[in-house]
Symmetry: C2
Subunit: 202 residues, 2 copies
């Protein structure tokens, strides 16, 4: 039996997404062996982050600043709004470096079965932002799943208005694929090939 | 650009052994999304561990108690001492559940090239412990590498004395294999098949 505290840490990390028991053990042992250079700085960084992290009240991103680093960046194009399901998708698009606008995190997809309607998905606030930001292009970057595409079509129909170009990132990704799992190259291509959706107004 | 603090956390975790950028991102996002249930308890556990962790002055294990959980366990057989290279090896043997004695962590292997002699490896203290614990069996569980086996032979020759049975875990493991990478089953077999080394005294 390894000590209870250390066993607790290993168990904690073992259950995290992307980690297993082996990674967790190696990771914990590494931290314990490098207390000054690794473990203590990590605790400081985690504590600082925990104290300041919040959902950006504008876009829904998670950050230690509010509005988040992206929303408060003057060089981002506020008139180009990209809609994603989850924060992980926003991060994936940011890694691609291909998008210079701002984001709107829905928090999921519409699902009649699960009782998730527009009000559960920050869609009312999306409408507000389109108006207040004077959005000229709305790019839908939902996952290529049945629910994602249903939501895509709902948004395209619901938000259509004169002067608003609604685009969707290209389907360069396999069906069932989720943005968070894609390499940046695929995302760059998909963004570059985005197309205007046919709406009643267009 | 994701926020600087969060980017810092992701970078930190990306560099840890057993983790990569994808695991790190998923892990950080998971922590941020579960601040109360995951992130804050993790910070507490890490801080408590950092405050109390030390090398066991007896065996060299890392624990938040000193002597460690193993050395202070009255049910362990203090007369059976198992020598390992690293704390990770001790943990691997503990996972197998096959060893009921106590340990001695050398901290590495003898290496003339790297200037690592007996005094760098807690070998003098190993001799002391054998005397004070009245050790009756010394099991050498060094890695099956050239350095490990060289150290094995050195220890067998150096520590040989009447009344001390010196055993070595069986070579049921591939050459070049390291204990930390083995499954518990292999370790159980290797321990059960340990053999007495031929020494001058025997
Ligand atoms: Zn934001
Ligand atoms: Zn100990």
């Amino acid at each position: 039996m390894v000590g209870a505290d250390i066993e607790g840490l290993i168990k904690f990390f073992s259950k995290m997404p992307g980690l297993g028991p082996r990674s967790a053990r190696r990771f914990v042992l590494y931290l314990l062996k490098h207390k000054q250079q690794k473990l203590l700085p990590l605790i400081d960084l985690l504590a600082h982050t925990a104290e300041h992290v919040s959902e950006c009240t504008e876009c829904g991103n998670l950050d230690t600043e509010n509005p988040c680093t992206i929303c408060s960046n003057q060089r981002r194009n506020k008139a180009h709004l990209c809609v994603v399901e989850h924060v992980a998708d926003l991060w994936a698009l940011e890694r691609s470096g291909a998008f210079q606008g701002i984001y709107h995190v829905l928090g999921g997809t519409l699902s009649a079965l699960d009782g998730i309607g527009p009000d559960e998905l920050r869609i009312p606030y999306l409408k507000q932002r389109i108006q207040s930001n004077q959005t000229t292009e709305l790019t839908l970057a939902l996952n290529v799943t049945l629910e994602g595409q249903t939501t895509n079509h709902y948004l395209a129909a619901e938000l259509a208005s004169p002067g608003l170009k609604i685009t969707s990132i290209a389907h360069g990704v396999p069906l069932g694929g989720e943005l968070d799992y894609l390499d940046s190259g695929t995302l760059i291509t998909a963004l570059a090939a985005r197309r205007t959706l046919e709406t009643e107004e267009s």
